[in-house]
């Protein structure tokens, strides 16, 4: 990594900006602005800073529609919105997917549109922390805000997660390094444990690394639970870990003052999926008989939690909500995006601030290539390649304001720092326009039908 001199050439600093990258939503960023562009970011990690500063890289700037030759052609906003509205209004089984990198304000228009046409609204939880939410529905959800951990925790456990790479400021701003009220010496007052088959960058800096076998999560947490409950462990090794070590670890976890467990996709996507997390949550409940423990899922996108929260307070269910019958339905395996796509049910797909082209399994992407896809996003990506209508949005937290929810549920108002490119529109505006245009088409249809 070459040395980069600090940025000194800027016009103004916008303080307390929020990072629109991972679920940490760090809200202490200083944006260095010159000529209406962010040329430097202070306090952010490399991931966050590069997302903010390289905002013009492969930026979608104009609305586009795919022509009969399969080429995306620039069009004006009216044409693009009308085309998208027509597709949505005539759809039988539309899916509106994404939402995790846009604001709650945008979702408010999205849900109204979804209710109007009977769409499925789903977000990235369906392919990442969906199993966590299923586990939460099975056995519970003992969480705390990040500041509780910063101020109190003397043991931090990361499992199935490598925050040094995925959430780089998680340790430094929230969990491990900062000096807390009861942890005045910061890192020195805490024990950092990584439970992960991989010797990850987080494991490298941990006090304890427990490298259980791949897919060994379920057995390993079960064994800890057995140890906590005073049961004899029959096998000498569980998931590759000697039973003495498991007993010792269980004892250590019992004897902390305040423990925090963070888990990531390493838990949700190994063999036992949500059952891994069932076990981890139940282990937490067991530990709370002795001392205080809390957990938090390491949410990826900055507002992925926000969509789950938003859908729950609007309609009672966190994701995969199907309005096709005129009322909200939530049934895992039935109303989730991947299932609908692989069953080839969906006939129009709108993606807002997400990249299914890059993330979905092959079968699902194959169906996407066969149906009309509307993309609302700020960057060119694999999803643009399969999109039939492209509507360029703006960058929440930099170019427009909006509300988001941090991984621990703390709501943050992300403010605006610079103006968006002239030809782009705010996501909120785009979805509202679509809603109004679809409403108009529906009203005309109703008028014709009644004649």
């Amino acid at each position: 990594m070459a040395y980069e001199p600090p940025v000194t050439d800027y016009d103004e600093i916008v303080e307390n900006g929020t990072c629109a990258f991972c679920g940490c939503n760090c809200d202490d960023l200083d944006f260095l602005v010159k000529d209406g562009h962010v040329v430097g970011v202070r306090h952010a990690c490399r991931l966050g800073a590069s997302k903010v500063m390289e905002d013009m890289d492969q930026r979608l700037l104009v609305p586009m529609i795919r022509d009969e030759n399969g080429e995306l052609q620039e069009v004006d906003w009216d044409t693009a919105l009308d085309k998208a509205a027509e597709l949505i209004a005539n759809a039988v089984r539309p899916i509106f997917y994404g939402w995790s990198e846009t604001s709650i304000e945008t979702m408010k228009h999205g849900i109204r549109l979804g209710e109007l046409v009977g769409a499925v609204l789903d977000n990235q939880a369906t392919i990442c922390h969906g199993p966590s939410l299923q586990a939460v529905q099975n056995v519970g959800y003992p969480v705390a805000t990040l500041g509780e951990i910063k101020n109190r925790a003397d043991m931090i456990v990361y499992t199935g997660s490598n925050p040094m790479n995925s959430h780089p400021r998680h340790l430094s701003r929230y969990s491990t390094f900062p000096r807390g009220w009861f942890r005045q010496r910061g890192r020195f007052d805490r024990t950092l444990v990584t439970m992960d088959p991989k010797y990850s960058d987080t494991a490298k800096m941990s006090d304890i690394w427990i490298g259980f076998e791949q897919n060994g999560d379920y057995g390993f947490y079960n064994a800890i639970r057995a140890a906590l409950r005073g049961k004899e462990i029959d096998q000498d090794f569980v998931s590759g870990i000697p039973k003495e070590d498991i007993m010792e670890l269980a004892e250590a976890m019992k004897n902390v003052q305040f423990g925090a467990l963070y888990f990531g996709l390493g838990l949700t996507h190994t063999l036992s999926k949500q059952r891994n997390i069932d076990m981890a949550i139940e282990m937490l409940a067991d530990l709370n008989k002795y001392t205080k423990w809390v957990l938090t899922p390491m949410r990826g996108h900055f507002n992925v939690n926000g969509f789950n929260i938003f859908m729950a307070y609007e309609m009672g269910f966190p994701y995969g909500v199907d309005f096709c019958r005129g009322y909200p339905r939530y049934m895992n395996g039935e109303t989730n995006t991947i299932d609908l796509l692989t069953r080839k049910e969906c006939d129009v797909f709108m993606v807002i601030a997400a990249d299914p082209g890059a993330h979905y399994p092959g079968g699902a992407v194959k169906h996407l290539a066969e149906i009309p896809v509307i993309q609302v996003d700020i960057h060119w990506g694999p999803s643009t390649e399969i999109a039939d209508v492209v509507l360029p949005g703006s960058f929440i937290g930099v170019e427009c304001a909006g509300t988001s929810y941090r991984m621990d549920g703390v709501p943050i108002h992300m403010k605006k720092a610079v103006d968006k490119p002239e030809t782009c529109r705010d996501d909120e505006w785009i979805i509202r326009e679509l809603h109004e245009r679809v409403q108009k088409i529906k009203a005309e249809e109703a008028a014709v039908a009644s004649k």
Binding site: Q137, A285, N308
Partner: protein, 569 residues
Amino acid sequence: MEYILKNGIVYDPANNIAGEKKDVMFKDGKIVEQVSSDAKVLDVTDKIVMPAGVDPHAHIAGPKLVVGRIYRPEDSRKGVTSKKGVCRSESGFSIPSCPATGYRYSRMGYGTVTEAAVPPLEAKHTHEEIMAIPNVDVTPLPLFGNNWFVLQWAKEGKIDEIAAFVASWLRIVKGYGIKIVNPCGTEAWGWGGNVHGIDDPVPYFDVTAREVVRALAQANEKLGLPHSIHVHPNDLGHPGNYPTTVNTLDCVKDIAKNGSKRNQTIHLTHAQFHSYAGTSWRDVESGAKEVADYINNNKHVTCDIGQVTLDETTTMTADGPMEFDLHELNGLKWANKDIELETGSGIVPFIYSGKAPVPSFQWGVGLELFLRIKDPWQVCLTTDHPNAGPFIRYPRIISWLMSNERRQEMMDNGEVRVWSYKRTGLGTLDREYDFNEIATITRASAAKIYGYQDRGELTPGYNADIAVYDINPNDIDPSKEPAAIEHAFGNAMYTIKDGQILVKDGEVVKVVPSHTIWTDVKGFEEQEKTVMEEVMPTFRRFYTVKFENYQVQDHFTPNPIVTEVQAGK
């Protein structure tokens, strides 16, 4: 637009109108004395007319609710309805979605609801949900009873600092008054502990619930807030907790009231959960008589009940340790949500079955309190929604209160177990509420307790928030017809909010945005400035958000009703 509600039988306890046949007139959203001959006539001959309902304590919006909804899809599925007319889809039974919450309150003739526990750090979330709730105005109460700043100042007896802090924080988070939940106990839960009784000091801060409650009560009266402190005392749900309750109420007895409309200096919430005698669940007895006696003899106290409705529900409270105990007791899934520097909370599903002794006992204790507290102005009808049952059961509770026969029948035919009368005094009480007392406990007393100057009465100049119920009070014996009473109070003939007809014949016909009611203290700016200088270094070091992003920006309360208070006046 002018309206005249003609020939209704009016119950307006604040104006001493108890079942008089008279017209109620309103114009441009306000009650008026006279309307012109152009006024639209709504014929409500011989129907009950009351001010719209005021709920003094419910949990309807905020982070706890959403955790409940996310982790209990089985509850959300129970109340699903199709979109219909002006209404969007509903979902949920004990934790309805936001639109459903608004519609359901509206159908019962309610106009104002308190959201009783707002963690300041997540106040924006509460306000977002309030925006999503239509048709009822919402009064959020921020939590102060375990706030680290408050705990430290309470220890040092710095009342001025607490008062200034409260004044600032009400403005910062757009809150109405001071809510205290298990003072010191929730902070102890930060270490997995709890406090027992009001003189048990919390670890590290070394301050007791008595000191915290007194300090906040003094600060409340110093500012002269419209509402008193709103207290959920220690030891909720523990057999033998009634002395803690009485001691909590008694510890603020000497503090002089400073608020124009209300009489009380302490509001005891969900009194039912705090009125148990005995030492364990084996020998538990009702402590309702002792608590009711104290309330009857002390005018500085008001309460709401938290009546158990015998349903499967979702308990949720900022009393984190209590919820973990409950999870240990019933084994159902446990959610917890601790908030840095401020508070905690827990959520556990609970099945209040009339087939089980403990819920039957709790059902009896709640009703016993209702029947023993003599002055209806000191008591309000609540279920501590959703903790003792969902708010949609209010009409059923009204039918129980109005019918001794129905209560006796339930005890006789096994709808509730013998503990409902063997362990409580309910079997010996044959009092029956009349319509005027019902009007008091469901609207007038709550409005007075909150010091509202614009609702809860049919006084000219007040908001035209009116409920009409399709029963002729002179032609029904509530004692004999509980089902008819429940149906009528559950399906308002009209619900009128700010002069607009929102419900007609039990159906929502119009949807309007809700208002957020909050308190802006004036005249304390100097003290606030000083205290903020003291707070900020700690804030910067120990919170995980920047102060700029902590505040609730104005756009989170698009329809505010700001109650301005002159500090000390």
